[in-house]
């Protein structure tokens, strides 16, 4: 493909700005990865290459427990949030435009606008009022709630971009509304659903404020655990953990991009 006439690379200084931008964005991450292979116990003193901190991280039981908690909560919250978001998006994008629907949409998106600390304190008080004591239950409920708008937005966008003709064509060809949804609507909005689920998963994995607020024995998530490690001083083990997390994130992002690119090609 030839470069278009308004190729951004032809603007003066474009390369320099780009280089500085990427350096600013990724230098800290590169440093983390670099020092995760440092043999020395002190994070910032390089003495030699070693993978011992990875071994230490993988053998750290508290760390593995935290990882398990995070993954369990994230998976359940992602499934819950995506299901709720999918239903909300179907109703809101296929219903006639009435005020009640506009209001509903605002309610679904409200958690995006509210400061997380407010929501976190609110759920903490709510759960103690309700007498819910199980840490995992509290985490899962709270995560499902704040992940829903993140799952909702891409699904909603995808549904809005999809002509109603497809659903009508399906029903015209004798599909019940449920069959039409299962065989036409869902496959066509799958990239949006996948993107929504990914966002929800990442938001849940990444969450600190709410998880920290609800922290109790047996329900310490990975970010909360890492924060507790930092309080005791950083070690290269922390760098190793971070590097592993970066790898997992990269893998997920790559899969998501590849899937949406495939869907784009298909729909052209």
């Amino acid at each position: 493909m030839s470069a278009p006439a308004h190729d951004i690379r032809r603007y003066p200084g474009a390369r320099l700005v780009t280089a500085v931008f990427f350096l600013w964005l990724y230098l800290p991450i590169a440093v983390v990865i670099w020092f995760s292979f440092n043999e020395n116990r002190l994070v910032s003193v390089w003495t030699g290459f070693s993978t011992q901190w990875y071994a230490a991280a993988l053998q750290n039981k508290a760390l593995m427990d935290a990882l398990r908690v995070s993954l369990t909560v994230a998976v359940i919250a992602t499934i819950g949030a995506t299901a709720i978001a999918l239903m909300a998006a179907m109703v809101l994008s296929r219903a006639p435009s009435k005020r009640i629907y506009k209001l509903s949409e605002a309610v679904v998106n409200l958690p995006l606008m509210l400061p997380e600390i407010v929501v976190a304190v609110a759920v903490l008080i709510l759960f103690s009022q309700l007498g819910i004591a199980n840490g995992m239950v509290k985490l899962t409920l709270a995560h499902t709630a704040f992940c829903t708008p993140f799952a909702f937005l891409p699904i909603r966008a995808r549904l809005q971009g999809m002509s109603r003709d497809f659903e009508e064509a399906a029903q015209d060809l004798y599909a019940t509304p449920l069959t039409a949804f299962r065989r036409v609507t869902l496959p066509m909005i799958a990239p949006g659903v996948f993107a929504g689920a990914m966002l929800a998963f990442v938001m849940s994995m990444d969450d600190f404020i709410t998880s920290n607020m609800l922290n109790s024995g047996g329900s310490t998530t990975l970010p909360v655990y890492i924060f507790s490690l930092i309080k005791r001083g950083t070690t290269p083990e922390l760098n190793a953990i971070s590097t592993l997390m970066i790898l997992v994130s990269l893998a997920i992002a790559t899969i998501a991009l590849a899937m949406s690119a495939r869907a784009m090609r298909r729909d052209l």
Partner: protein, 357 residues
Amino acid sequence: MARGKAVEVYNVSKRFGSYQALDQVSFTIHENEFFTLLGPSGCGKTTLLRMIAGFESPSEGAILLNGAEIETLPPHRRRVNTVFQSYALFPHMTLAQNIAFGLENLGWDRKRREARVAEMLELVHMTQFAARRPAQLSGGQRQRIALARALAPEPQVLLLDEPLSALDLKLRQAMRDELRSLQKKTGITFIFVTHDQEEALDMSDRICVLGEGRIQQLGTPAEIYEDPENRFVADFIGETNFLAAEVLSVEGDMARIRTPFGLEITARQKGLTGPGPATLSLRPEKIGMQSQADGHVLQGTVRGRNYMGGFTHYTVDVAGQPLRVSRRNALSHAESFEPGQTVSLGFREDSARVLAQ
């Protein structure tokens, strides 16, 4: 030939808020008929089609499919299929899967399905593309698959919503013939919605002209063109000259009128009851020039000329009144008239029509 009734529409009205999309519309479509709903955008033709398909319901009135009331049936229980303007082929399915979709929902077994899909692909000359996806097709090919998909379940009625509007001119012409022959071959009732009068005249057994939510005229293409019911139809179908005329007397379907050129003629009339102002409609191709001037002859001056290849359109000034005249360029040495030239024009009484203002 006595034919069964495929679709009956009784006093159907449709309001969207305060907007009256359809107002007391009634007509019957016969089995095995190519029926066209023709009208400008916003005339309610697509609304009518969507009501038959089940995507809208009438505010008043009833629609019968093969004699049975369908109001309570959801779209997936109506034995009608639609060819959508956008085609709406499912992008995640192959063409064969697209065509099989309706059959699966009807519970056809695999063997019967596969045979029908092959038959339909053959019918639209797309057999070698069975495994492709819609994105890999051209506009005309998509159109064919949309047709095959809608015809596969053997619907009682096939609805076509402006299916040719997305195609380029050449292809549109070819698809007209193909649609027409498909209809004859399958014997299925076609209800075709279009705003293109040429398409409607070319393909239809009968045309229903809709305007402002009401039926303006229902008839064969020739009836609609030759004997328009009113000004709306005469104006919408084809091209015509409208001249203000004065009715002297009305006798049955004939009226004696005075034209702006001072001539008094007797011509077929529609919608008039007695003396008063009226409109004279004179089609451009029914006016002869010079050697072809026949009947009532008038003198005029050529004002403009549009060469269209097969035809030349002239604007001729007759007593201050511009008249459009269409002349077929039949012979290579056909006479041509220059602007400014004085010519004689002629028209016969039996090709003039008198309509209500």
